[in-house]
């Protein structure tokens, strides 16, 4: 087997693997709890860019802690993936996007209004 043919073969397999599993199939559900914290955030702002545009948001305070959750027996895919959500202040969207989202509850049609949270992956240790 030549190196070239092996590389071509691997590229084919790699592309096939990439398309085989839609990415949100690997995303957990998250249950988010209100939190109180004992220290302030040092970073006052962050530059964000998503499908609605780019802007610098002010980071206000840690607001929610999110655990991966099993819903109706669905199971948890990545038990170590948590999110810490900070309240942020940014500009209202000039033209609120009309969003159609489909999940296991069916179709949700929503208008996105203003940024409210920035959720950041984090590690967690429970204090005894």
């Amino acid at each position: 087997m030549s190196v070239k043919s092996l590389l071509v073969g691997c590229a084919v397999v790699g592309v096939a693997l990439a398309f085989a599993a839609p990415s949100h199939a690997a995303l957990d559900h998250y249950k988010c709890y209100k939190i109180k914290k004992d220290v302030l955030v040092n970073q006052a702002s962050a530059l964000t860019a998503d499908q609605f545009g780019s802007e610098t948001v002010s980071i206000k305070k840690a607001f929610l802690w999110c655990n991966p959750v099993s819903k109706d027996g669905s199971g948890i895919l990545n038990a170590n993936d948590h999110l810490l959500c900070y309240k942020v202040k940014g500009a209202n969207l000039a033209t609120p996007p009309h969003i159609a989202s489909t999940n296991q509850y069916g179709l949700q049609q929503l208008y996105a209004k203003k940024p409210f949270l920035l959720c950041v992956p984090g590690n967690k240790v429970i204090i005894p």
């Binding site: 559900h29 819903k71 999110l83 159609a100 949700q108 959720c119 992956p121 429970i126 204090i127």
Partner: protein
């Protein structure tokens, strides 16, 4: 492609992926926007069992409240651009006062006092309607 070559490639790809991407590295940052439900259709409140590291209880899903996009923060790349979340306001059947947790993220280490559950975020596809 021969079966042998495909097997070698598959194993190599899986090993490379597992080595390169620790669990937390595949989780994006999310920017969540307050959302107005157009009620087309009307969301039907529902109660389902939920279980996480803090509590197992029945949870009432009340209404959609936020839509979350994967986001680049300070130039960090978006890992899974198709992963979106819709977050619902919830109410747990079981009252719960959570533990104190220590959290480390890119802002540093925080000690948090966990209170009651407020949202449950569900992955889903998203389309912007013209």
């Amino acid at each position: 492609m021969s079966l042998k070559r495909a097997m070698i490639c598959s194993v190599a790809a899986l090993v490379a992926t597992a080595a390169a991407v620790p669990a937390q590295a595949v989780l994006d940052h999310y920017k969540c926007y307050a959302a107005k439900d157009l009620k087309q259709p009307q969301f039907a409140r529902t109660t389902l069992p939920t279980a996480d590291q803090f509590v197992a209880t029945n949870t009432e899903f009340k209404s959609p409240a936020f839509v979350c996009n994967p986001v680049s923060k300070n130039g960090s790349p978006i890992i899974n651009p198709n992963d979106h979340l819709v977050c619902y306001k919830i109410k747990d059947e079981q009252k719960f006062d959570g533990p104190n947790v220590t959290v480390t993220d890119q802002f540093g280490t925080l000690k948090l006092d966990v209170k009651k559950a407020k949202l449950l975020c569900v992955p889903g596809s998203k389309t912007i309607v013209p």
